[in-house]
Assembly symmetry: C2
Homo-oligomer: 96 residues x 2
């Protein structure tokens, strides 16, 4: 299933920048960064439980906001992109 | 239905800041700002067609990225928020 993760963090201080880097690194293990603080992760239920807990450890809930959107398995026709940085097809064939 | 709109724009220049303000203002007509550049809009099909066109007029596709996610009508159990700035229930009773 696809989980969309949007993360709002102040990057005016170095601690916020570090949290954003850590969140990005964690999400990139199972997905892609489609915008600066928006990530799409393909996970099964067990992976999602683990990923969610890890993210909640990384963020500062007093300062940051993180939102999770469950897009399910039939997500391809639910997403439209316009502009720069179009995303990869995570489940498509890898062409080198 | 709920449409999630994520907008990636450089706000280091005043033109980018202006575009973000315009996108925010447009989205706030039919929804709420849940993060700095993430908006949730409740629209029917006709309203969505109109909103989408308006947003595509506002952004600069050479510099910005905008993504639309269709969450459908049964969206309430698909969204989780952690941290600051929890969002309003757009369809709940208005308590003054």
């Amino acid at each position: 299933m696809l989980v969309l993760i949007t993360y709002d963090v102040s990057t005016t201080d170095s601690a916020g920048q570090r949290r954003l880097r850590q969140v990005a690194k964690t999400c990139l293990n199972c997905g892609q960064r489609v915008q600066n603080s928006v990530f799409e992760c393909i996970v099964d239920a067990a992976e999602w439980t683990s990923l969610r807990l890890r993210l909640l450890e990384l963020i500062d809930p007093e300062q940051d906001s993180i939102r999770f959107y469950q897009l399910g398995n039939q997500y391809k026709n639910k997403i439209e992109h316009v502009g720069t940085k179009s995303s990869l097809d995570l489940e498509g064939p890898l062409i080198l």
